[in-house]
Symmetry: C3
């Protein structure tokens, strides 16, 4: 069963519209509605005074139409009266400026007034609805972590409490943070503050711990709400909606606290890589759930309203990307929101029913998809199997973000490039955490995995010894768990495994050097830094970009010697190994000491995957075609503008004649395969 649903904010609508809406929902095949996300002021118009009539009435109406409800705790957006209780309710930025109300989510998370009132509301809601059979799941808050971090003194005190639990005493904190440098030694706990605007570069360890603290702080709110619901009904599923690779929360930790994983996914339709961005969201959610069914809880039917230019989805693209979600493991696709607002900040965000009403091509697509999903019988046990795992660790990305690193690439950029390469190659990938079971994967990728602890290094080494293949790329294994550099050469505790020691990071100038004129002058005759060509016996010349490293092979004799698969043949780094591989136990470890250009990355990633035994689901796909196997179904998605015929080489369709499948532009075909 695949859910089809939407956010519904009935507080915006009159009775007649609501009545029409429920009727239209049934027409569109909607069977799951999220209620109450922004309804705090409606549910509790004055402190402690609750009004449930409208909600009861709506539950009845939806129930009569056979529509289930995902009920929100309504704590994401505070009512105006809460500011009367706490005049320091607004969150505070790095300059100490307090945010005003007038939008959503402006509260400081350590406001006692907020905590008391939000949990009181959650409790009242749970008492009333947690045993209601029409409420099939619970939705805590909304997009936790959205606005920038509050850095008020109150949050600072909570940070100190968190640090005391983590470090015990100040000496340990001073050591971990390296405060000996720049005279930053803390001699009282009161000296600890949130990272604020200051006069020079921040201490990165300070910032890293702040990021950890903040993820934990917000998670504590989630857990408190969850526990109040569970206290009434231990079987009630509770979750909150994720936002893909949102950089500020450790979703691995969050996912462990949830009953199911849900996601808000808004790729830019104007971005030719939108389908890959969507796939990344979906692969990530499937991985975060470690097998539990996940939902797309929010996506747009057409355009959003928060970009500078909000190009809508192309005709058919909403349906196509919804099918992509099903193919990659979703048990439902829901939209924000049911009916487009006519007032407020999200007025021009598209909806299932637009401003012109239930009419036109968009509405037809909405109804068509609803019908298709209702007819589809896909079980939660139908899985996507991946042989390739990409290591993802928010702590590593925070460490990279906090550090003043050699270049300014985004902490997740290399990870995104490797995911995109496997997507293009048609090879399924999972994401894994440093705690995940790696044994099922043939290839593990560490894309610029900046922070590698001793424990992680040991787990990866054990994985390789037992037959796994691992590939790590530049800027991997630079720091340890407290942001301290692994002295002795990167990648520190993985250096022996990869058989390589990195001597120097070597980011390249972004801009090409100016042309050298004929005139004989000193400065203009000076060549700009250039790392030279990288040539491999196997892959020929490899193009690279942004970043290289100077490395040296670790001395090793005999069968387990490290081998340079590619090296710089000229330029400033001539002779320096660029790609190094080394066998270990039953497996192999390969280090890629540079940022490969797009074509070269496809070449190398494809070769390493093949070497590890990880292959495309369908080889030789025509342009624009994505092929995903989930359970015993093959989903063929055509993202291009021309119809394409797909030859199912090496696969066994249930219908033996279905070896060639024609897929129309922006269309999908589902092929039943013989069971594995």
């Amino acid at each position: 069963m695949i859910r089809y649903g939407c956010d519904y904010n009935p507080e915006q609508w009159d009775a007649a519209t609501i009545e029409e809406d429920v009727r239209l929902m049934a027409e569109a095949g909607v069977d799951l509605v999220t209620l109450g996300v922004f309804a705090w002021a409606e549910l509790e118009p004055r402190p402690g005074e609750y009004t449930f009539t409208w909600l009861d009435d709506l539950l009845d109406r939806l129930g009569d139409a056979g529509i289930d409800v995902d009920l929100a705790t309504a704590t994401a957006s505070t009512p105006a009266w809460l500011g009367d209780v706490d005049d320091e309710l607004g969150s505070v930025d790095r300059w100490g400026r307090r945010r005003a109300g007038g939008a959503r989510g402006h509260h400081c998370p350590t406001s006692e007034a907020y905590q008391v009132a939000s949990l009181r509301l959650t409790s009242v809601l749970a008492e009333r609805y947690a045993r209601d059979p029409r409420v099939v799941m619970w939705h805590s808050g909304n997009e936790y972590g959205g606005p920038e971090s509050c850095r008020c003194d109150r949050c600072g005190r909570a940070f100190v409490a968190w640090l005391r639990r983590r470090y015990g005493d100040l000496d340990a904190l001073n050591a971990a943070w390296g405060t000996a440098f720049w005279s930053l030694r803390l001699s009282r706990w009161e000296h600890v503050h949130p990272p604020r605007a200051t006069s020079d570069l921040h201490n990165p360890a300070h910032v890293l711990d702040w990021d950890r603290f903040r993820s934990d702080l917000l998670r504590a709110q989630f857990r408190a709400e969850r526990d109040l619901i569970k206290a009434v009904n231990p079987d009630a599923p509770v979750m909150t909606n994720f936002m893909g690779l949102f950089p500020d929360l450790d979703y691995w930790a969050w996912a462990r606290d949830e009953d199911l994983v849900t996601d808000d996914t808004y790729p830019d339709p104007a971005d030719p890589r939108g389908a890959q961005d969507n796939a990344l969201h979906l692969d990530l959610m499937r991985s975060l759930g470690e097998g539990k069914p996940f939902l797309v809880l929010e996506q747009a039917v057409g355009a959003v309203q928060w970009r500078d230019v909000n190009t809508p989805k192309r005709p058919g693209q909403y349906r196509l990307w919804s099918w992509q979600a099903v193919a990659r493991g979703a048990q439902g696709v829901c939209q924000f929101q049911w009916r487009a607002s006519v007032r407020g900040a999200e007025t021009f965000h598209s909806a299932m029913v637009g401003h012109a009403g239930a009419t036109g091509p968009r509405w037809q697509e909405v109804v068509r998809l609803g019908g298709e999903l209702a007819a589809l019988d896909v079980g939660a046990d139908e899985r996507v199997d991946a042989d390739v795992a990409i290591l993802l660790d928010w702590h590593s990305q925070w460490a990279r973000r906090a550090a003043h690193t050699p270049d300014d690439d985004a902490p997740d950029a290399e990870l995104r490039r490797w995911h995109a390469a496997f997507f293009e190659l048609g090879i399924p990938t999972d994401f894994v955490s440093v705690d995940s079971d790696l044994s099922g994967y043939r290839l593990l990728v560490l894309p610029s995995h900046f922070l590698v602890s001793q424990a992680t290094a040991e787990r990866i080494t054990a994985y390789v010894e037992q037959g796994g293949h691992v590939v790590g790329t530049y800027l991997t294994g630079v720091v340890d768990d407290t942001q301290g550099v692994h002295a002795g050469g990167y990648p520190g505790p993985l250096s022996e495994l990869f058989g390589v020691r990195v001597l120097e990071h070597w980011p390249l100038p972004v801009q090409a050097p100016p042309p050298v004129p004929a005139a004989a002058r000193i400065s203009t005759a000076v060549g700009a830094p250039q790392a030279g060509r990288v040539v491999s016996w196997q892959w020929g010349e490899l193009e690279y970009a942004r970043f290289v490293e100077r490395t040296e092979l670790l001395a090793a004799d005999g069968n387990d010697a490290a081998l340079a698969l590619a090296a710089f043949v000229d330029g400033d780094l001539a002779g320096s190994p660029a790609v190094v591989t080394r066998p270990r136990g039953a497996g192999r470890a390969t280090y890629v000491a540079l940022s490969l250009a797009e074509e070269a990355l496809l070449t190398v990633a494809g070769a390493l995957a093949a070497d590890a035994g990880a292959h495309p689901t369908v080889p030789g796909l025509p342009p624009g075609i994505e092929a995903v196997r989930r359970g015993d179904r093959l989903y063929l998605l055509n993202h291009g503008d021309a119809a394409r015929t797909v030859a199912l080489a090496g696969l066994t369709p249930a219908d033996a004649d279905a070896s060639d499948v024609l897929v129309g532009p922006r269309d999908v075909r589902v092929v039943e395969l013989a069971p594995r």
Copy 2:
């Protein structure tokens, strides 16, 4: 009589310089001098202590030289001592940060200290000079609205008072602002604040009302000063200087409170469209005055000093653009300022007398123009007649600016494009407000007129029924007077008139898609969104940019059926009407559902104007020539670098032999026509 004048700030100069200045003014033909704009500290060096000797002396000197005075109330820039009276004098930004003194105009407009002191000064000045015959007009404040809006608590309380008058009770306010969404319901008036920095997008209705309030608040200061002057001399003309399409004040309302309209116009000489920008200023001022004479009160002789790069006017361009002002209806051209400062923030702003003194080509041009204007006999009753009106409404632009709209184009950008098209076509245009009398116009343009109230829709419909032609472009008629979307399809209450319903806004990606490489990959094979070609039976292929809309024709039978003049023939919007026209009563309404590229806009605007009976003043003009008829004179202005001969086809020169007129580069020729 055409005035020739300047700002004069004698507080900067010693007696000898002042004496020389008055002599030079006479030499240059100056007959109107603005005094006192920044003289508060000079007039009132300590609270309540006034010194008028210097002003009296200067009035005598100017009077002796036959030079009239425009006297400022001097309230635009506060003296330092006012900060001693009110330590919250400085205005406050959206983050709650108070601006320091040290420049001009930093005061909060609701400061009681400011209000008391500014009106006391105005009153004292009025008592002393409002009956003085040498003071021919009064100048309140200066460039009202210049610095960003103050958002302090005091202004917030004034905002509440304004809202109470507008809405009566909180329920009405909550309804109008749509606070049901995002839990923003206000339960006490104290919950209302100015729009401040917050955690997410603002409620647009909140921002729209704030913009309205601010225009009214500043206007109240103007009215209070005006009334004090009128109390002494009811016949004294009172005004303040406008700044063209300045986005923050509703100049229609302001103009109604003034005795005459004046403008500060500073087109960038480095912008090839500078002449059109100047024309827009002039057309707007003529329109705001609805027939009353207007003045260019400030322009630069050469360069300004507030751009990043301040290129001066080209030789002859100061004279040429001054003549352009006369041609388009000005009764005078004045400059900021007479003599270039040698100290202070405006030191490098050019002046009639530059740092090198009364010498060189600039001074020669200043003197030449003064002589020419003095010799010119143009009456205030000599008018520019326009058949085309462009609807301009600050409330609509505020609504667009406050809304989180599909794209980020400037609220007045489409209006500027249509004015530019008519300028290039040589067709005179007026601007009109939603309250203006439309009956005299053949064509009315609604350029992305975002906010359309029911009343405005009815007025426009009546205009068409009585024979008018109206053209509306994309993003017209989206919201009502309280920023609520017209449900049922845009352009809401104009939908029937235009015969079209807009189903979806469709802004286009700003950047071209990257080239698709040969390699067969998923993401790179995906075509970027494209709306396709627009073809018209009448105009051929129409190029467009930025924005399109998906539309459908409204069903209509018989003679008043809507007709698609152009439609998308391929791409994502294939089949969607792009330009739709429909007859109504004696007139016609045409909807342009896209942003036309420059050439296409000239084609369409020219065709629609011709169809409505609006024609160029002089057909077939050579490149670079602007032709404007005012009264019975034809002004031919050559903005180009080459001399051109203009054939006066279809016009009747008073001198029948003057059918071909040679105009030199950056020169002007005035041709007397036979009276109409």
Copy 3:
């Protein structure tokens, strides 16, 4: 003797590492170590409690290894406990926002707590170490002026005290600041504040005096520390480290207060002009010291960590640029820092010992250079002689920065362009102040020297009368010492000398005009401003950029007539002189009324230098070669990628056979010359 050294921050390291470090320093040839720059918290862990054991121990170890010490006063970065003493310790930005701790240098310089504690620490250190023979020099603070200026009320009061000393009474201040304009008259000293965020453009004279005040304020801290050291040992050399053309401090005044000049130089290796940037640093430091030996106190061995992209130095470039320092007059080259941090904000700043340890090509280069410098016998009396002087005055640059000038070019941009031209031409240059002795120079350059006082004008005139050649470029001599424009035409008091009067500044549009389409329209037919071609009888057509001026020759008869060497031959400035020269006494003055493009600047600068008798050290150098004579040695530096042979035409090598010298890529050759 050439020093070779480094910053060392042992508080980061354990005993074993320190022991290894001292051993490796000896291996590398290090003989000077800077200690204690960031050690305040280590030296004084609690207020008034000092711990010197670690420092004593290190001094012993270093002394045993024959390594001298540069001891810091450790006052640049405050310990956390100082915030307990003064809760207004953090500096305040222009919006009144106080900076938090957590980095270095965040203190307000007028904090009494800071002043008391920093001087107490300096005093204690001086008592203990100022007579210690191992401490060969003292290092006050660190990179004074680094973070942005504090603008708190306390600093405001210090500013008032400074102004009272400068101006005596408010009338003088009001006159000097030109407060008559914009109603800014100050009627009480309390009205004076630091320049803060306000509503419009600042009064430039206010900002100029603030810049002067701030340089003096920070210098007072330096002098106080210096005097405490001198009180113990009058012979102890005291300095602080400069940062090249750092815009905020008047290094001429600072250098006079120091015993020696030292510099931190960090050219970007990714910038093809890095070598010229380094040369500018070195020429400046040599000039600031007026003959005293100077040190490069900080440079990077590889990369820094504070740029967006931190490309490391190319192989050999660290050694090459160090030799460049010796060639241009340095008595030592030191690096930041000895061993790369593993924690903290500077972790990824390269060091003499990198994260991988004392290994690899970098370490080999470090050791090689140490050996070479130890073998080099260059005395402090071996000088670089220059015939060309470039006038540099921080007050002039502050005046330009504070003024709202015609364009937004950096205040030192024209100076950098002229230095670069002479660098390319191989002609040695010094920098001089307005107080320097000019008599030894053949050519004096005033590159857009904005502020010229009467006294400076007289000194320059006397210099020319006695035979000097002076060249001034556009935007020279615009304002006087209090930012008042020289009325009567720029360059004011130099106008007679140059024989030219500037009538108008004429910055050019940055962007090329859009192409003019075929269509005959007004705006597109309008040409953009263009100044036209500049042609000279001597140099042919001269290309220019950014800025021109309209000028006129001053009438002058006979032998001392001003002569236009080049003039605009067409365009908007046709006929206006572009380069004007005039003889005066035994010398000559030339005014360049435009910003010359690179090639044209080489032509003009080369011709003017030759005319004045200033010639390249080695004529006809091959591409990429820099040649510098210091004492009787010629240093040949090859910045290019190919080996080059240099012919020593016109020079007399001590070894007569050494007339052709081969220099490898990124290598250096030193040629002994016959004594002069």
